[in-house]
């Protein structure tokens, strides 16, 4: 425990400038939020200035109200949001994200490698990828509901969000392997399979990691659309959607903050895996 606090304080001291900058950035953001809320509500310091005649007094809640709503969502389970606790919503969303992400990873990596290394595979895959990539996940909702049903439907939406960034990054990585490296390996008598494992794969890994980070972010972006598919067991996206139709805006923002936190956490885990992979491959 002592070494933990020691290393923490050491890290704080050595990074004080950047930590201060981060703190200032958050503080400025929260101040702007506060001023905007106060402006919309004609509250102090904008007493008497009513920008909109609408009586939408909770449209943009103060940030401390949002944090309070987020805290409360772990211990209360209001009926408009499915009568579930936030922890249950988190569990439901994490399950969808994990399965969708795992499936995307398993399928996108080999396909990306193939498209990056083979011109014929590229010719086959390219038009399909370009055709399907720009379709917004929301557009798939009605068909996925019927075809994939309540369990796989939302996962399929997340899958689509994660799949393309990984595929495209892996393809780019595999394609941009320095030919000199491959020639060198060949001169040393390496076989095709060895070149693939020892040269192409390590070269592609950083690209894959970028794809994973971007893909996870987009996966979370898709969660509201995904959880419009019945919302079995709820989910943070369902929570936002349901709270919005009931006019509970503090809960809407609480759900948005929660998605941000979850995205940071999952990306953090991906970062840890990245380090582990690099060490395992002897790259760092």
């Amino acid at each position: 425990m002592r070494s933990l606090t020691k290393s923490l304080s050491k890290a704080v001291i050595s990074n004080w400038l950047r930590l201060t900058l981060s703190a200032v950035s958050v503080a400025v953001f929260l101040t702007i939020w506060w001023l905007l809320s106060a402006y919309l509500r004609a509250d102090w310091p904008f007493l008497g200035v009513k920008p909109y005649p609408l009586s939408t007094y909770e449209r943009l809640p103060y940030w401390w109200d949002v944090l309070r709503a987020l805290g409360r969502s772990f211990v209360t389970n209001p009926s408009p949001t499915g009568g579930r606790f936030m922890s249950e919503h988190i569990l439901a969303s994490l399950t969808r994200i994990s399965i969708g992400f795992a499936l995307a990873l398993i399928s996108a990596v080999p396909l990306g490698l193939l498209m990056g290394r083979s011109r014929n595979a590229e010719a086959v895959g390219r038009p399909l990828v370009e055709l399907f990539r720009p379709i917004p996940p929301l557009a798939w909702v009605p068909i996925f509901l019927v075809v994939f049903k309540f369990f796989w439907g939302p996962i399929a939406i997340v899958f689509l969000g994660v799949f393309f960034p990984i595929l495209l990054n892996v393809r780019l990585g595999a394609r941009s392997v320095d030919p000199v490296l491959i020639d060198a390996a060949r001169t040393l008598g390496a076989r095709r399979s060895t070149i693939f494992v020892k040269v192409v794969l390590p070269f592609t890994t950083p690209y894959l990691m970028t794809g994973i980070t971007v893909g996870l972010g987009i996966g979370w972006m898709c969660i509201v659309a995904a959880e419009m598919l019945g919302g079995v067991g709820g989910g943070v996206g369902y929570y936002i959607f349901a709270a919005n139709t009931a006019g509970l805006y503090d809960l809407v923002y609480a759900g948005m903050v929660m998605i941000g936190i979850l995205s940071v956490l999952t990306t953090g885990v991906a970062g840890l895996i990245e380090r582990w992979v690099y060490r395992w491959m002897g790259m760092k």
């Binding site: 990074n15 936030m86 569990l91 019945g230 006019g247």
Partner: protein
């Protein structure tokens, strides 16, 4: 940044999340009741296909999404909504207070309501004479508006009661809905009082405004359009047969080239975002953003959104009563509400009148309604 620092941060965050999850899982353990029916939320337009696909056992929706399944032999009606609550209010006409406070806003609203009244009277007459030309015209308008065929529309029209009057029973029912919402924690007394209403009856007496409808009755036609450059921006729901009055009032071909809105001097246009997917979205996107002047929507979302977020959509006329139903899969062996125990029912969402009706029906049988897990 230091690697250790990241690991420590992730570990601390993970402990907090896992701890929170397990704590509230423990808290959520409840005693068993006589039976539970599970619900999922899907858009009514997707309900028929989902029922046919087998992922739900039943659904509750508005017409024509009930008759659509019945005519297509996909489903049978378990209960019509009038069996749950006779004459229950459903859709209403609501007006934005911002529109009312504009110059001429009151006059334009009264004229709108006059056209609404006349459309209702025309529909009542058409429905009373199914062999007449007006009935055929009504069916054609409904076919176009709902994108359903004439057989479905005719079956659906039988179960919707159109009417504009807001009598005491209507107000009492809305008060009952509000009380239920407070009971179920959908909104709170504190929020209601924060908006300046001392009780639910005080709220309904102020939020339901009958004076405009009364004044509308004596409005006479206008030879000129009174708002040529500022059309009334109309909100309505996607293919909702309950809201036929606005379709009739906008129709020109059946009325010699002049619509009822035009007859009373009005230019009416679809609001940005209309048709809306649900009353909740019409409130939160349309009325709240100021893009809807007058809208047709369910009374419950108009009430709930106002109490929760302060968005105002004053209820100024009724549009219909009844006209929803619980549909079960054809030949499913489900013959009463008790058979729905442990089964999955789709609803349009927690804020809809259909959700409220389903809850009322199950309450009477001593059954719980919970989200499907």
């Amino acid at each position: 940044m230091d690697k250790k620092l990241i690991i420590i941060a992730v570990v601390i965050a993970a402990v907090v999340v896992v701890g929170g999850i397990s704590a509230s899982l423990l808290l959520s353990k409840e005693s068993k009741t006589t039976g539970t029916v599970y619900y999922v939320t899907i858009a009514p337009k997707d309900m028929k296909a989902t029922l046919a696909g087998g992922s739900i056992d039943a659904y509750i929706a508005w017409e024509p999404y009930v008759s659509d399944s019945v005519v297509g032999n996909v489903g049978d009606v378990l209960e019509w909504s009038n069996q749950i609550m006779p004459n229950h209010p459903c859709c209403v006409v609501a007006v934005s207070p911002d529109f009312l406070s504009k110059p001429n806003g009151v006059n334009l609203t009264e004229r709108f309501l006059k056209a609404h009244i006349e459309a209702n009277q025309w529909m009542a007459n058409a429905l009373a004479h199914p062999s007449g030309a007006n009935y055929t015209a009504l069916v054609n308008m409904a076919v176009q508006f709902t994108s359903r065929n004439a057989t479905v529309v005719k079956a659906a029209l039988e179960h919707v009661k159109y009417g504009y009057e807001m009598n005491q029973a209507f107000r009492n029912a809305l008060q009952q809905f509000t009380d239920m919402y407070i009971n179920d924690n959908m909104t709170t007394t504190a929020k209601m009082q924060g908006l300046g209403y001392s009780s639910t009856s005080d709220f309904i007496s102020k939020y339901v405004n009958g004076s405009l409808l009364d004044a509308a009755k004596s409005i006479t036609p206008s030879s000129t359009i009174l708002n040529p450059s500022n059309p009334i921006r109309l909100g309505y729901l996607l293919g909702d047969l309950h809201q036929m009055a606005q379709v009739v009032a906008q129709n020109t071909t059946a009325f010699g080239g002049t619509s009822m809105f035009q007859k009373y001097g009005l230019l009416v246009t679809s609001a940005t975002g209309a048709p809306f997917a649900s009353g909740g979205t019409e409130m939160s996107l349309g009325f709240a953003s100021g893009s809807v002047d007058i809208g047709y929507l369910g009374a419950p979302p108009a009430i709930l959104n106002h109490l929760n977020s302060g968005v105002k959509a004053l209820i100024v006329a009724q549009a219909n009563s009844e006209g929803s139903g619980i549909v079960v899969k054809a030949n499913s062996g489900i013959h009463n509400l008790g058979d729905l125990v442990n089964k999955t029912v789709a609803t349009p969402g927690e804020t809809s009148i259909q959700f409220l009706l389903l809850k009322m029906a199950l309450d009477k049988e001593g059954l719980d309604l919970k989200i499907k897990t």
